[in-house]
Symmetry: C2
Subunit: 223 residues, 2 copies
């Protein structure tokens, strides 16, 4: 019975988030949610206490998932800074794509959150932003980054990935994996100056690029 | 009197958008807006008919501004595709930064828009997305783009720039011009393979890169 209850609660949360995101939090009643789940309103109270309780749980869920993901990423010592940032963009994109309704709801319902829920939400937002800035700074510290502000770059990542909640559909042509990979590529290539032009490693770097370009020309002429 | 009325209406729209975005559309009454403007509620009706009228005008304003910007950009024949896309990213970012409250409101209140306003809003969204895809495709057609999906790239642009409505502050350290420029740089560099490794432009391109390498080396040695 405990498993069934858990499954039902999860399905209920997902459906409620969808309805809230579609119709607005205030425009959706517990009766609407019960009907959508094929439950009576009294039966609904078996799983949740109130609409506010529902919202609180939805936010708590997202926060818990985010904390777990972020701690896991921070703990990875096997990745160089650029790859760690790439992984962050991928994880962020996949996390939103997995629960687009809940992310949209969080943004839409921000003004209606109770102080307690609002606090948890604000903490989550700060946490994501500071981890993003930290990871971009780590990339900058390796000397390969263009002259870009880490905060602007971090907010660009959050924007790209949060916005997924408004357009991603699991039934769409683009898989969440493809989107996550392409977002990561765009972002990393956007930040990192591969030819070292803006973060020249001096004469040695310039000579290295010359040699590489001569080799490419030889290859082109030869073929 | 006509000018005063226009100024008052503009100030009223801006303040209303701010209150709606902060507190939610349903949680904000016309009385709240009147109080925030230092007006009586009857005096408010001199400028607007109802809350729905207010929302309709806010959406109409954004739509009109977007249509004007987009037509201007489409009409420009002086820019190569990459620069046209760069300009699009800049214009989008600046447009959101100029009226963050209204953009946020549009997203937050989406579920509460009347069918008429909703239609205008949906049209605006489709328009922005198709122009973005068109501009990315134009860049791809020049052969300099990485292997990325134009739709994903377009939605990344819209995400980055729309999200500005949630974090940009005119009193912040970062100017909207700086943010717009850096967004554009990140995005263009993210899409375009500058070293031609993925989309070589043949011998001519290789020679051009060689010439650039030599110039940089001269510059380095000279300084």
């Amino acid at each position: 019975m405990a498993v069934r209850r858990e499954l039902m609660t999860e399905a209920l949360l997902e459906r409620a988030a969808e309805l809230f995101a579609e119709r607005g939090f205030d425009q959706t009643s517990l009766q609407d949610i019960a009907s959508a789940m094929g439950l009576s309103r009294p039966a609904l109270y078996h799983y949740i206490d109130s609409k506010d309780d529902l919202l609180k749980r939805l936010v708590a869920d997202l926060t818990a998932a985010a904390v777990a993901d972020d701690e896991q990423l921070r703990a990875r010592t096997d990745l160089p800074p650029v790859e760690k940032l790439r992984e962050f963009v991928r994880v962020m994109a996949l996390r939103v794509a997995q629960r687009p309704h809940r992310f949209r709801l969080l943004v839409i319902a921000e003004a209606t959150l109770s102080p307690e829920v609002m606090q948890a939400h604000a903490r989550l937002k700060r946490m994501k932003l500071s981890l993003a800035i930290e990871l971009v700074r780590d990339v900058a510290a390796t000397g390969v980054m263009r002259a870009l502000d880490p905060r602007i770059a971090a907010l660009a990542i959050l924007g790209m990935t949060n916005w997924l909640a408004w357009w991603y559909s699991p039934d769409g042509e683009l898989s969440s994996e493809t989107i996550a990979d392409q977002f990561a590529t765009m972002l990393i290539e956007g930040l990192v100056a591969n030819d070292g032009s803006e973060n020249g490693a001096g004469v040695a770097g310039a000579l290295q690029r010359l040699r590489r370009d001569v080799e490419r020309l030889e290859h082109l002429i030869g073929s």
